[in-house]
């Protein structure tokens, strides 16, 4: 014997359901672009965020000193030659 689920449905539900389901073939199918547009939008936002982030970092950070500038700075400092050698050879 078949047992019944202890559930009911709203009044007139099945008539409305059949009508809605029968309308499915008439609904316009989403194009590939429409299907992927949320992902494309997300990718575009991400790309913009990366570009803007790079611009901000480049604008706000000080330019890196060249190797020659570092050498000049060290030579002009009050460090002795042996201290410089120690710093260079024992820095590794």
């Amino acid at each position: 014997m078949k047992r019944h689920l202890p559930y009911s449905t709203p009044e007139g539900y099945f008539q409305g359901l059949q009508q809605r389901l029968a309308d499915i073939p008439g609904k316009k199918q989403a194009t590939t672009f429409q299907k992927f547009s949320p992902y494309l939008a997300l990718a575009a936002v991400f790309a913009v965020a990366v570009v803007v982030g790079n611009v901000i970092i480049n604008k706000t950070s000080a330019p890196a000193a060249s190797a020659m500038e570092v050498v000049e700075y060290l030579l002009d400092s009050d460090l002795t030659l042996s201290q410089l050698e120690d710093a260079i050879f024992y820095s590794d």
């Binding site: 078949k2 202890p6 559930y7 099945f14 059949q18 029968a22 499915i24 073939p25």
Partner: protein, 173 residues
């Protein structure tokens, strides 16, 4: 194309109500069942041109619906895990607050015990117990062997008995 539309409308007319109860038996909630039915019939419509009749129409339709319902249960499980929620407690709340539940206290407890079963056991139990499908039919729909289905059904009834504190009297098929 017109022929396909006619076939589709025939499927809607012949199976939509029965399919509603099939899905409702798996997911419990009326609104979730309604949403799933839209998705299921959308899939049926898209797959209809490829239907060659290797399996019967009933089996084919039920296979699509069962897979969709199984996917829903899995997503629900993952969502609950990510939100650190107890799926069992949530299932009990859904049944307790369901405005379309019209069973007695014993049926409410049975519904809660069924809701706590693992997905596959739940599907097998629902198809066998409420829809009265044969193991052979369920096997065709789910692609699982009859032996494995019998084992799943047995384990499901054992868990339900434990959940309801029954030693016997709960009919196994």
């Amino acid at each position: 194309m017109e022929n396909l539309e006619e076939t589709f409308k025939q499927i809607v007319s012949d199976y939509s109500e029965q399919l509603y109860w099939h899905v409702r038996g798996i997911v419990d909630d009326h609104d979730d069942t309604d949403d799933l039915l839209q998705d299921i019939f959308m899939k049926i419509w898209r797959a209809l041109p490829g239907f060659r009749g290797e399996s019967g129409l009933f089996t084919w339709v039920w296979r699509i619906a069962t897979n969709e319902a199984l996917g829903y249960l899995r997503k629900k499980k993952v969502r609950a895990a990510l939100q650190f929620q107890s799926l069992d407690a949530k299932a009990e709340r859904v049944i307790d607050n369901d405005p379309y539940f019209n069973g007695d206290a014993a049926q409410r407890e049975l519904a809660k015990a069924i809701a706590k079963l693992p997905e596959k056991q739940r599907i097998v139990f629902s198809m066998r117990y409420f829809e009265d499908l044969s193991y052979e039919q369920i096997s065709e729909i789910t692609g699982t062997s009859v032996g494995a289905l019998k084992a799943s059904y047995y384990h499901a009834t054992q868990k339900i008995k434990e959940g309801l504190n029954l030693s016997d009297g709960f009919e196994s098929k």
